[in-house]
Symmetry: C2
């Protein structure tokens, strides 16, 4: 494997489920703001259909090699079709339906993009939304991108990398200890080891983004962070020891804080400077409720801990409006900007 | 018991923990906007000290009977000392400390105010913040106002009324299925019966506030509302049947919705009309995180299901700033306005 030159900064964007809004938001994002150099890993006919659905005129170039994207003129959308992607009439699939062929194509694009990233041929992956049921219909069992990329990275390396999901918008950055599991099971997964690893992964990621000593707030699990064991003892027995261990390693972590106010305290706006740079949330919804509250179109999902940069919009395939040209590309644009920023600071 | 004439609309405000910010926010709220008729149930010397701490000049009248508040001139603060409240030098207590005498006094004021409300002598109670540990130090075991008022109402009636906590600000109203218990235990408490009762109590309360068919969104418990049983089955086995039962009774309830987006969808602003009038949240923090995210000073806590109206600010005693005169009365002012509005519409 050749040394990675991430400064070259080629971004790969996976098209997502071809019958969801992914191709449309990619087309709109590029029409608004040409991110270069950038290659769409997807199906050329699907991308052309999306451009028409959005009423845009945007030239499309089918690339023989992803890196040819560097040589494209501005505002020309470079699309590279992975060899695994069968010319299966993807652009003829009905929009907004769970279909095995769509799930298969979405998975093939993710796999191909991950292989490019692992080989150092692209600097980052930005993933458009996939549909879990379409993946399942295609025999792909991962509950989401995060788990799939983790497995692909593990295939390439010696041990599966421990990853965490970060959701961020202009005001708030949250890293999750647990994600796509039942709440009962999530509580069982919250161990001192896992909380400490999350703090460490978050600290390392934030440190690479120009925050040498990020102020990390660790939220509790229970109402009022348990009120000294009155409403649950996970704060005392699990979370506080992880914070102490992180602090002993020189990490500026504090808490556990009451979940209902810690996100408000971390919220950073011109009129309300945040008390913390990021918040560690114990559960999927403790963390995602505040990030999404002001509107999902603003949020970015960053997978921390992978051997490459990966961001995505924080919404789904929106099957109800797919094909209408109505989808808002703002979150994908934010994901592209975040990927660009992370690539510039990523440790080599 | 004489018939309740709630149109008379006398509000009782309990002073809260005398060493917390309660007395100060009461003084500031009255100096800014005289809510009349209104009586403070508390200690005269404590209220005088709070007025001084805030640098205000506000005349205080010690009332022989709570209803004498109706005859006070504008901007005169009427204080009624319950007979149980011992003249124990409350105004000499150190500010911002857990003290048994302070907890005892706070509890005595709540008890006296509840008795006034149950006797129909006041139309509503607005409660300033108490400190749980001070209550405990005084031998009072309730974890909060809600549970205490529920017990006091039960003493007066035949069965304990089933109550629910509603948190609301200008954008969002949330009613909680579970509150002050460990998250593990909260999950066990979420039954079809309990969710249905919450929907019914919320529907009845909203219906009295000029919303004849309130649109009630029911949040799920698990990430993505369980994705059809993939991440937990409480949505399928517990929550959906409660929604179906409520709909069979003519209630406009829907869901279960993914917790991470339902609050955003319900958020009601000039530029973003909410899809729902209120949201039923399964846990304390799913509901309170979004209500508090934009700043606690805006929120109001309403106890639904009691035989009288009760509201409160949605913050605590703030011992760290108590006595400094810095406390923000905005949430108490919102609670006073909400109580006034609820009293006007309350069924008699």
């Amino acid at each position: 494997m050749t040394p990675v030159d991430r400064s070259a900064g080629l971004l790969a964007v996976t098209m997502g489920d071809p019958t969801g809004i992914g191709p449309e938001i990619i087309a709109k994002a590029f029409a608004r703001d040409a991110f270069r150099p950038c290659v769409v890993v997807g199906d050329v006919a699907v991308m052309r259909r999306a451009i028409r659905q959005c009423g845009l005129t945007l030239p499309v170039a089918q690339l023989g090699d992803p890196e040819d994207a560097r040589a494209l003129p501005p505002r020309c959308l470079g699309v590279w079709q992975p060899t695994a992607l069968l010319p299966a009439g993807l652009a003829d699939l009905t929009m907004g339906r769970v279909q095995a062929a769509a799930g298969r194509a979405a998975a093939d694009c993710i796999t191909a993009a991950a292989e490019l990233a692992l080989a150092g041929r692209v600097a980052a992956i930005v993933t458009a939304p996939i549909h879990k049921e379409a993946l399942a219909a295609a025999g792909v069992s991962w509950p989401g991108h995060t788990e799939m990329l983790q497995a692909l990275a593990a295939d390439a390396g010696e041990a599966p990398p421990e990853v965490r999901m970060m959701l961020a918008n202009d005001e708030l950055a949250v890293v999750l200890v647990t994600i796509h599991v039942a709440l009962r099971q999530a509580i069982d997964l919250i161990t001192t080891e896992r909380v400490l690893r999350t703090i460490q992964i978050a600290h390392r990621a934030a440190s690479t983004q120009g925050q040498p000593a990020p102020r990390i707030a660790v939220a509790g699990l229970n109402p009022h962070a348990g009120e000294n064991g009155l409403f649950g003892d996970e704060e005392l027995t699990v979370i506080a020891p992880a914070i102490a261990a992180a602090r002993a390693q020189g990490i500026n972590a504090s808490g556990p804080y009451a979940p209902d106010t810690v996100f408000m305290r971390a919220r950073n706006t011109a009129s309300h400077p945040g008390e913390f740079d990021l918040v560690i949330a114990m559960t999927h919804d403790h963390g995602l409720i505040p990030v999404k509250y002001l509107g999902v179109e603003q949020g970015v999902n960053v997978t921390l801990g992978l051997p490459f940069v990966r961001t995505s919009p924080d919404h789904g395939t929106a099957f109800d409006i797919a094909g209408s040209g109505l989808a808002d590309p703002a979150s994908l644009q934010a994901a592209l900007r975040a990927a660009r920023r992370l690539v510039a600071n990523w440790p080599r």
